[in-house]
């Protein structure tokens, strides 16, 4: 038996062991299949452009773990949404700024289809949302004819 064959059989054995000991939970596959239901039909995506947690600058990284406020930026071609996420115990305070500003309605949506909060941005495009807990959410901005409807990428806050 060559060394390569040896390697292959040891890897295969390890793979079988890990497959038995640590299989993919069926719920993970189910949730993955269901994710297609979140296809955008009527809205424009505001992509996640920056996240201080993944910041490239060393200082931000060093601060990352303890920083009470995380800064996230979403953007479409024309608009940017800056969001500060502040941890307050189990809860989260989201402070947002849409620029250029528009007095839109901002909904915080959860993956189970519920809307956690709905607030109106002021004329400077600012809005504040208090969430009772952590979780994966996205924002849906609507209510301004020129703006159309914008949905942000999902983030876990």
């Amino acid at each position: 038996m060559s060394a390569d064959d040896d390697d292959d059989s040891l890897e295969q054995e390890l793979g079988e062991l890990l497959g038995r000991a640590d299989p993919i939970p069926p719920t993970v596959l189910q949730a993955g299949r269901a994710a297609l239901g979140w296809r955008r039909l009527d809205a424009e995506l505001a992509e996640l452009l920056a996240d201080s947690v993944l910041g490239s600058d060393e200082l931000a990284l060093a601060r990352g773990a303890e920083a009470p406020v995380r800064s996230v930026t979403f953007g479409t071609g024309e608009r940017a949404i800056d969001l500060d996420v502040e941890e307050r115990g189990a809860g989260r305070t989201l402070r947002g700024q849409l620029s250029p500003p528009a007095p839109v309605t901002v909904e915080v949506q959860r993956q189970d289809g519920t809307t956690l909060a709905s607030v109106r941005a002021d004329r400077f495009g600012r809005f504040v949302v208090e969430l009772a807990g952590a979780g994966t959410i996205r924002l849906r901005l609507a209510g301004e004819p020129q703006l159309g409807t914008i949905e942000t990428a999902w983030i876990t806050v």
């Binding site: 939970p25 947690v53 994966t136």
Partner: protein, 182 residues
């Protein structure tokens, strides 16, 4: 069906095409999350966020053949996010996977159970980097080197030599455990 066809049908809302993509790459994503030493619950969240990211970007994937690498990169970033946000909650080594197989898990006789236990013990002490790499390489539907490189942020050229070195370590540890090399 090719990945390009599956992606194009999923874009049109075809659930079966999407399911096929999920089934094909879930092993890669699970291995990526576990290679980052996330708990099962954290791994589930990371994988779900990765699929949501793909759904958001279905009409932007330029090169279907690189979908696996795109998913692995996305999952790695989600893993780093999770680790940095929840540094205090990282699982201990014991919680990472399992200690010894239980009787229910392995019913194929005592000898194989001993061998599994020895292999597991040997695997536990080869170091995090080697564990991560072998976790990826031993995943079901073995990922390509490009996908592994994306999942672990490792240069593709380093994977082959590191793999050989890690297997060597594993084999030596296994010998120390007194297990026969089959």
């Amino acid at each position: 069906m090719t990945l390009a066809e599956l992606l194009s049908q999923a874009r049109d809302g075809d659930q079966l095409a999407w399911d096929a993509i999920v089934e094909r790459f879930s092993g890669l994503l699970w291995a990526t999350a576990r290679a980052h030493r996330l708990s099962a619950a954290q791994a589930a969240d990371v994988i779900q966020n990765t699929w949501l990211r793909l759904v958001e970007n279905l009409d932007r994937i330029q090169d279907p053949d690189r979908l696996g690498a795109w998913l692995a990169t996305t999952a790695r970033r989600e893993c780093l996010r999770t680790i940095r946000l929840g540094a205090r909650e990282l699982p201990t080594d014991e919680e990472w996977m399992w200690d010894v197989p239980s009787d229910d898990e392995i019913d194929s006789g005592l000898i194989e159970r001993e061998r599994d236990t020895a292999l597991w013990r040997a695997f536990r002490v080869i170091g995090e980097r080697c564990q991560a790499l072998l976790r990826m390489i031993a995943a079901p539907d073995p990922p390509s080197y490009e996908e592994i490189g994306a999942a672990l942020e490792m240069p593709i050229g380093a994977i082959g030599p590191t793999r050989a070195r890690c297997l060597d370590k594993l084999r030596r540890n296994l010998a120390l455990e007194g297990a026969d090399l089959r």
